[in-house]
């Protein structure tokens, strides 16, 4: 049996379907899940033979954990979570028991999703797109998450940017907040908004706050993996900052050495006298 979940509200739709499937006693292995445009009512199409119904009883912690893990990009996530919901309800496995392989897999994916949401909160970069004469300022961002986490990540931005309109577009979905009303829609234009002027100041800041005497590239890359760099306006400064670090440190020890520094924007600044 095929179930196609909608792209918007995927998790809520999955939950609804699992409730019906459990009531009909349908074996998780008999279901093939996918995400797409339309969601025809599955029970209208041919459903497998019903079995014994399982009453679903889950702790709140388990529900939250499963819903989060479902934001992973792994196509197997829906059937895995379906099976786990049944096993948890039958008390065949305890929520959080990492010695169970299925449980552990789900917990790991939950963690990966949590991390992606957290990274998204940090790495989204808005650019100003206020129309002339508007009384609210407007900003837009383009972000490419590894997992489809936009719906879960977006409320954070609504809480934070109360007095401005904003939009975050990802390759599939877009979150848009206008006059305090947020909604999720399909993405129209798959491209970043045009640069804005404040970006140059941010790049100046990024280059200046870095201490060349403490170069630790590995630590930086583990926290800010390179896959995010292409949408970070400051990231293309990094190779040069690393390359010039040693010369700059030597110049600190030896004040007679000339230490010209190139700032973003191409201006030169003599650092030492």
């Amino acid at each position: 049996m095929q179930i196609t979940l909608p792209r918007i509200g995927t998790v809520a739709a999955w939950r609804q379907q699992v409730r019906k499937l459990a009531a009909a006693g349908i074996d998780p292995q008999a279901v093939i899940w996918s995400v797409g445009a339309a969601a025809p009512d599955l029970f209208a199409t041919a459903a497998p033979a019903p079995g014994v119904a399982t009453p679903l009883m889950l702790s709140l912690e388990a529900v939250d954990g499963i819903e989060m893990a479902l934001l992973h990009s792994d196509p197997e996530r829906f059937s895995r979570a379906h099976a786990l919901v049944l096993r948890l309800s039958k008390r065949e496995v305890r929520w959080g028991d990492r010695s169970d392989p299925l449980m552990r897999r789900l917990l790991d994916q939950q963690k990966a999703v949590g991390r992606e949401i957290h990274k998204m909160h940090g790495f989204v970069r808005f650019r100003e797109v206020s129309p002339p004469g508007a009384n609210r300022r407007a900003f837009a961002a383009w972000f490419e998450p590894d997992h489809p986490v936009l719906e879960a990540a977006a409320p954070f931005f609504a809480r934070r940017f109360g007095d401005m309109d904003w939009l975050i577009a990802t390759p599939t979905l877009t979150a848009r907040c206008e006059a305090g009303e947020m909604r999720i829609e399909e993405t129209e234009a798959r491209q970043p908004p045009p640069k804005d002027a404040a970006e140059e100041l941010w790049r100046v800041y990024f280059a200046s706050i870095f201490n060349p005497a403490r170069l630790m590239v590995k630590a930086m890359k583990s926290h800010m993996p390179q896959k995010y760099w292409k949408n970070l306006p400051e990231a293309d400064l990094i190779p040069d900052l690393i390359r010039s670090a040693e010369t700059r440190v030597r110049a600190m020890h030896d004040p007679s050495a000339p230490a010209p520094e190139t700032l973003p924007g191409g201006r030169m600044r003599k650092k030492l006298r």
Partner: protein, 409 residues
């Protein structure tokens, strides 16, 4: 004075602020702007928005209001006798930079400090003006950390706490001797006095009086401080004892350690070499052990007074107390589990929880997330028992040398 452009000022005043280790935006109250009347929120945990190639998180716009300074602290690039380029932001410039960066999701808020211009009170009141403008006029609800000048008037400290989430007062150096020598205008008494003041006001703000009225809001994310490591001969033992004292006496949230960094145009009173960054790293580990594992400063710092640079302080402690190991993972109390190398507080909680249901085996520890490579020699449980602990030298060799990312180049 030359008229500088905004990018030039930003470049100079961020450069001057980079020696401050703290960039935390955590702690304190949770706020939002869903009501549409302002901008900003705080999450409690804080978010890093970028990482610099020095491996440090960028969470706040960390700048000086000015790097002009009338003091002459030898370790500081901004001291009056340094020939560094100088600049000064106006209040409006800092306010606008903070807001414009914030709106683009570059930062969590502002960390403002300053060199001392004219007088401590003058400087402090300008810093307070930045915070007040952000809060009152701009309705900014993001994070604000103000570096407090210890000699500033108590009213100014009170107002700083009204607007800021966190205040910090740097102790700068671990001993009084070093402070007198390297920062002649500063005094331990004044620094401690200001810390006590911040602590008292913070506590008052949390207490209700008998009539149910509250004292004014005061820096809900508490206070922190920073100590420079390696600019004076203080040992790690002295440093940790100082930290422990500060944590207990002034209820500090954090002590930051900053390995003395070579600065352009350095004073001749300073050592020419930089202490290894791994020393700073070990101090952070030791500090972490004091705050989260129930270790006491005197337990961690060895008799020689210096931490082992090759192995982490928890392992060093275990090696020095071999008679207490191996620990039976299924029976040992929480405090003892916390002392096993390779097992952190999260794993300890998971062990305690799982233990209620069944006896744990070796494989379970793996699933729980313990670093068994480190833990193995120190534990016993079904599926694993260590042979006699190998001798000290061998065991040490197994864990040394320090991880490579800590070397400089």
């Amino acid at each position: 004075m030359v008229q500088r452009t905004l990018p030039e000022k930003l470049s100079i005043l961020a450069d001057a602020a980079k020696y401050d280790a703290s960039c935390a935006s955590s702690g304190g109250e949770r706020r939002g702007s869903r009501d549409g009347k302002g901008i900003g929120s705080t999450t409690g945990a804080g978010i890093c928005h970028a990482w610099a190639p020095d491996g440090r998180c960028i969470s706040l716009l960390k700048v000086l209001l000015t790097n002009f300074c009338i003091y002459d602290c030898a370790y500081c690039i901004n001291r009056v006798s340094s020939r560094v380029e100088r600049a000064r932001f106006s209040v409006e410039e800092v306010v606008s930079l903070t807001l414009e960066f914030y709106r683009r999701n570059y930062i969590e808020g502002l960390f403002l400090s300053s060199g001392i211009i004219r007088s401590p009170d003058d400087t402090m009141s300008e810093m307070v003006r930045v915070a007040r403008t952000l809060r009152e006029r701009e309705h900014f609800r993001g994070y604000i950390h103000l570096k407090t000048i210890p000699d500033a008037a108590p009213e100014l400290i009170a107002e700083a706490g009204k607007w800021a989430d966190r205040l910090s007062i740097n102790v700068e150096l671990p001993t009084e001797t070093a402070l007198t020598q390297l920062a002649p205008e500063k005094s331990v008494q004044t620094i401690h006095g200001a810390m006590a003041e911040v602590k008292a006001r913070g506590e008052a703000a949390k207490d209700r009086t008998a009539r149910g009225t509250r004292a004014p809001r005061f820096a809900p994310a508490g206070q922190s401080t920073q100590m420079i490591v390696g600019a004076d001969p203080a040992t790690d033992g002295e440093i940790l004892r100082k930290s422990s004292h500060l944590y207990n006496r002034f209820a500090l949230r954090r002590v930051y350690y900053s390995a003395f960094s070579p600065i352009p145009d350095a004073s001749r009173m300073l050592p020419l070499i930089q202490p290894p960054l791994v020393r700073e790293h070990r101090l952070y580990q030791a500090d972490w052990l004091m705050r989260n594992y129930g270790f006491d400063a005197t337990e961690i710092a060895p008799p020689t007074g210096m931490l082992d640079l090759q192995i982490d302080p928890k392992l060093a402690w275990a090696l020095a107390h071999r008679a207490l190991f191996p620990v039976d993972v299924n029976r040992a109390p929480r405090e003892m589990l916390l002392r096993i190398p390779g097992i952190g507080p999260r794993s300890v909680e998971r062990i305690l929880k799982a233990r209620r249901h069944r006896t744990l085996r070796y494989e379970d520890l793996l699933a729980i997330g313990c670093v068994l490579k480190h833990a193995e020699p120190f534990i016993t449980l079904p599926g694993w028992s260590p042979r006699a602990l190998p001798d000290d030298a061998n065991l040490r060799a197994r864990f040394a040398p320090a991880p490579e990312q800590l070397s400089l180049f």
